[in-house]
């Protein structure tokens, strides 16, 4: 749906030239939540601003739904921008307008009639959960509420794409979660394609379907979120995965426990998305005559299932144990027997 070809942006200052985005190629499918992650200065903001030409590209094309954004005249671009919503880290609301008036601004720009504006704004206020606050000014809202206004405003003209630049970076973890669930909700309800920029891996883990890792203006790694989590290739990617999963060698700390096990087995269950989830533990405990205890684990929920490892200690009759292990193996969870006492 969105195709980005050989996109480049060079900033020239008096003393230096900076290649902020470097020959970037990317395809984003309709209806997906696509995450772009990278450290500060990687060129993420420049990249997302190139998509709606808030920044003019030095070279390359951006094509949205067959329309070549990079070939549009100033006037055509204005019309196309009405179909591309954008939300910002610092919300960028007009403090002189109420919630209702802020959300109405893009509708005024698009020349929507007054009656239609009123009903559309009401609809949006309900969608983002701001009922009761419509006549407040931005200064009277919390950060999370401000971002909800930002989201409602971005959705006002029923865009095809929503661009989010660090939309949750100014919010506390709890508010971040509520804004992220709102984005997922909108993605599912409206089938909206979302491109999301962040430097926080848990944002990617929670809501993205696919992720691209940016470094030095290039995309160095991309794929399904679960795949990138389970097989990070580049050093940057590994570091980002560690942000969420912790250092992988921490898993070894239960070696001591593994050694001291006197009966039963210690298993390492590896979750790699799809249908797998932690409910499997209670299922095993119910179905088979075994005792199962979690020793340690780190499993994260992503948009396409759970990802991570769990160390469990199972005790019981040998045959029951066999069957339990076979059962777990029959799901998408990978099993590794660490000790067999």
């Amino acid at each position: 749906m969105i195709s980005i070809q050989q996109l480049s942006k060079v900033f020239k200052t008096n003393t230096t030239t900076i290649q902020a985005v470097d020959d970037l190629n990317l395809r984003i499918d309709k209806g997906e939540i696509f995450g772009v992650i990278g450290y500060s200065g990687a060129g993420k903001s420049t990249f997302i601003r190139l998509i709606n030409r808030l920044e003019e590209p030095t070279a390359g094309d951006v094509i949205i739904d067959g329309q070549e954004i990079t070939a549009l005249s100033k006037n055509q671009l204005r019309l196309s921008r009405q179909e591309i919503g954008m939300i910002f880290q610092h919300f960028n609301l007009l403090w002189s307008r109420t919630v209702r008036e802020n959300i109405a601004l893009p509708l005024e720009i698009a020349g929507v009639s007054k009656e239609e504006r009123i009903s559309r704004v009401d609809e949006l206020i309900r969608l983002v959960g701001l009922a009761g606050r419509e006549d407040a000014y931005p200064s009277q809202l919390s950060g999370g509420q401000k971002q909800r206004v930002g989201i409602a405003r971005a959705l006002a003209n029923k865009p095809k794409v929503l661009l989010c630049d660090e939309a949750t970076s100014a919010l506390d973890p709890e508010t971040t979660d509520s804004i992220l669930s709102l984005l997922v909700d909108i993605n599912e309800k409206l089938g909206l394609t979302i491109i999301l920029i962040t430097h926080e891996m848990h944002v990617i883990q929670k809501i993205c379907h696919r992720v691209a890792v940016m470094e030095g203006g290039k995309i160095v790694e991309q794929g399904e979120v679960v795949d990138v989590f389970s097989h990070p290739d580049k050093a940057v990617t590994k570091k980002f995965v560690e942000q969420v999963m912790g250092k992988p060698d921490k898993d070894i700390t239960e070696e001591a426990f593994v050694q001291s096990v006197e009966s039963g087995k210690v298993l390492r269950l590896h979750f790699v998305g799809e249908t797998a989830n932690q409910a499997i533990i209670s299922q095993v405990a119910k179905k088979f005559d075994v005792e199962i205890n979690i020793i340690q684990g780190n499993v994260k929920q992503t948009q396409s299932g759970a990802y991570g490892s769990l160390f469990v200690h199972v005790t019981g009759e040998e045959t029951e144990l066999e069957q339990a292990i076979n059962y777990i193996t029959s799901t998408s969870v990978e099993v590794e027997v660490k000790t067999d006492a």
Binding site: N52, L54, L77, R78, L79, S80, R81, Q82, I84, M86, F88, H90, N92, L93, L94, W95, S96, R97, L105, P106, E108, I109, A110, Y137, P138, S139, R153, N157, L163
Partner: protein, 222 residues
């Protein structure tokens, strides 16, 4: 009692003079508002990185503003006599004072407008662009609207400077309280007249300041 305290004050003439001061101040303020906003917008929009970035135009507007801001008001009135004569047909009376009052204060206000516009969050302008706003929409619905409190408080400061300009203009025959204080008070050595005029001017200044502050507070939703 007023008769005994201020024996030389002709209260009816004083009332007329007060009216003249209001007349000059308010008309000049309207002119200053219009030209100041136009000049301020030009300064802001043509500046490097602005929407209409234009080196030459920016230089010309900035030079105009700086030069007219630098000329002392009394000298400006004298310099503008031929222009005023051409424009108004006379160099006496309140209307004749208006060109000098506006040209003297619009550049000052233009700088305050520019400062106000610079304080508008760049991100908000960017957000409007991302919605596909025209430049005119950005100017009227974002820049001027978001900076309104700064524009009003700047206008208050300008109005107070204008009141003192009208007094200066009065000395060369523009009418108003300055004129009254000079010709009826100073020239005739009637100091009670000068005193009453001064008090009235101070009261007028307070009125403008009060209205300006109240308006700014009401408009400021930050």
């Amino acid at each position: 009692m007023l008769k005994t305290l201020f024996p030389n004050v002709n209260w009816f003439d004083l009332l007329i003079a007060t009216g003249e001061t209001f007349y000059m101040t308010i008309l000049a303020l309207i002119g200053t508002l219009i030209f100041g906003i136009i000049l301020g917008l030009l300064l802001y929009l043509t500046a490097p990185g602005g929407i209409w970035q234009h080196k030459t135009l920016n230089f010309i507007v900035a030079a105009f503003v700086n030069i007219f801001r630098a000329i002392p008001f009394l000298i400006l009135i004298l310099l503008l006599i031929p222009f005023t004569n051409f424009l108004i047909g006379t160099i006496r009376g309140q209307n004749a004072a208006l060109p000098a009052l506006i040209i003297g204060s619009a550049p000052f206000y233009a700088r305050l407008v520019e400062i106000g516009l610079r304080e508008v969050d760049k991100g908000v302008v960017e957000a409007a662009k991302s919605m596909g706003a025209k430049t005119s929409t950005i100017i009227f619905k974002v820049l001027l609207k978001e900076s309104t409190p700064a524009l009003v408080s700047g206008l208050t400061v300008t109005a107070i400077a204008l009141i003192s300009y009208t007094a200066v203009a009065g000395v060369i025959g523009a009418g108003g309280l300055g004129d009254f204080a000079y010709f009826h008070g100073f020239v005739r050595q009637d100091f009670d007249v000068m005193f009453v005029c001064t008090v009235l001017i101070v009261i007028i200044v307070f009125i403008f300041q009060f209205i300006g502050d109240a308006l700014t507070n009401k408009l400021d939703k930050r």
